[in-house]
Subunit: 259 residues, 2 copies
């Protein structure tokens, strides 16, 4: 049975997609078989893997909605340049999904049901969420065992976390009693500024134990890696962000063994 982690935060631009891609690669370096699932209509994860969104025959949109002929998750999964990491890609069509799912039966569990056929094929399934708390993110939270919250080290991002925690609580109460908070990972951290240091302190106070010790530093190499369609672990293996994602993977695996 795979562990399903939703990578979510309705605050935009906090490195959800970057974390999904690089944590996935770091987990595969430690022998885990990983599926990355793109649930964002912007398809940032799919684009970051160098795939041409317009050329994909079918995507997660077709799996979630009852398109004719039926498309299953196995039909859309593709391998990536990373050994032991596959992707379930998205496309722009997904922007229609929230309105179309609205009147479907069991609309919040469309993704949970869609992932069933591959649950035993992967050790980890990481879901990249869009920057909103609509039906797509609700589907991810309903399907997940736990939620990983990337949090940019700035004041506005910190304020958004309250809304997200309230939503997680609601999903746990109404849709998915086992949903746990895996933790908060501070991203794009620039230790030279007192602003980032102050926010990091605040995050550690607010989330305590659930704040990962690993912190992902700000580095333009992370932006450059996207253009080349590679993870930062491939693009610049010894760079500080690559090493931090490896240490995050180690913390998550240690946490799983201890549980």
């Amino acid at each position: 049975m795979s562990t399903i982690i939703a990578i979510a935060n309705q605050k935009g631009g906090v490195a959800k997609t970057t974390t999904c891609l690089n944590l996935g690669h770091a987990l595969s370096e430690r022998g885990q078989k990983v599926l990355l699932c793109d649930l964002d209509p912007q398809s940032s994860l799919t684009i970051s893997l160098g795939l041409d969104v317009r050329k994909l025959p079918s995507t997660i949109y077709d799996v979630l909605l009852d398109t004719k002929p039926r498309v299953t998750i196995t039909d859309i999964i593709r391998s990536t340049r990373m050994k032991a990491v596959d992707v379930a890609p998205a496309s722009i069509d997904l922007s229609k999904a929230e309105l179309e799912l609205f009147s479907e039966m069991n609309r919040e569990r469309a993704l949970k049901d869609a992932l069933k056929p591959v649950q035993d094929a992967y050790d980890y399934i990481l879901i990249d969420c869009p920057p909103s708390l609509g039906l797509l993110t609700t589907n991810a939270l309903a399907a997940a065992d736990s939620v990983l919250i990337p949090l940019q080290s700035d004041y506005l991002a910190m304020r958004g976390a309250e809304l997200l925690l309230a939503t997680i609580e609601k999903v746990r109460h109404k849709l998915n009693p086992k949903l746990a908070l895996l933790g908060v990972i501070v991203t794009m951290y620039d230790g030279r500024t007192s602003h980032a240091k102050d926010v990091l302190k605040e995050v550690r106070v607010a989330f305590g134990e659930r704040t990962f010790k690993s912190v992902i530093p700000y580095s333009v190499r992370a932006k450059e890696s996207v253009v080349s369609g590679q993870s930062i672990l491939d693009y610049d293996a010894k760079s500080p962000p690559a090493e931090s994602y490896r240490s995050l993977a180690a913390e998550i695996l240690a946490y799983a063994q201890a549980a």
Copy 2:
């Protein structure tokens, strides 16, 4: 009659809120009376103005939905520390608005109708949109005369622009024939990196004339100003981002006069 500008981009964290606040202040420095309208459930604009979201008696949510007793836009407007700049605040309730608006009559024009009572009271109304293309952003595009697109100088943000242009075209075709593209403003620009320079070149090729000459530089002072509840023009008046927002306001006013 005021000019209504929607500040939109479904890509997250590209400085929509920061641009709305600081462009608003820069326009008021040049004698314009400005209303800032927060249409994001995260309420980043409302928070950036130092308001306590939990203490607001009513917000834009109450105006858009037919709550009893009826609340109008004039009931929720508050003044800010900036002379000649008012705000129509948002709160977390707005995250319910997209689903509740779904079955309302004339659902895409709720904001356009809501703003009618104050259209002659302001020279500019700036609408801060959430990072998605759902009913809230559609409402902003249906109400607006033009769209300003903040674009972070990085590859992923550049890819998101195609989806946004397609949505603007659809709204122009079905809801608001006068909707124009005011232009693209490059934000958080770090001129020291070749990545940002390459993206800036690409943006100028893709958008040509519609790329503003002003470019907003990356500066931690912009992040710090939010904590103090001030615009960057107040927090650090001579800083590079403050000066760039002033030059953006000058370009927009010159464009309006020429039109």
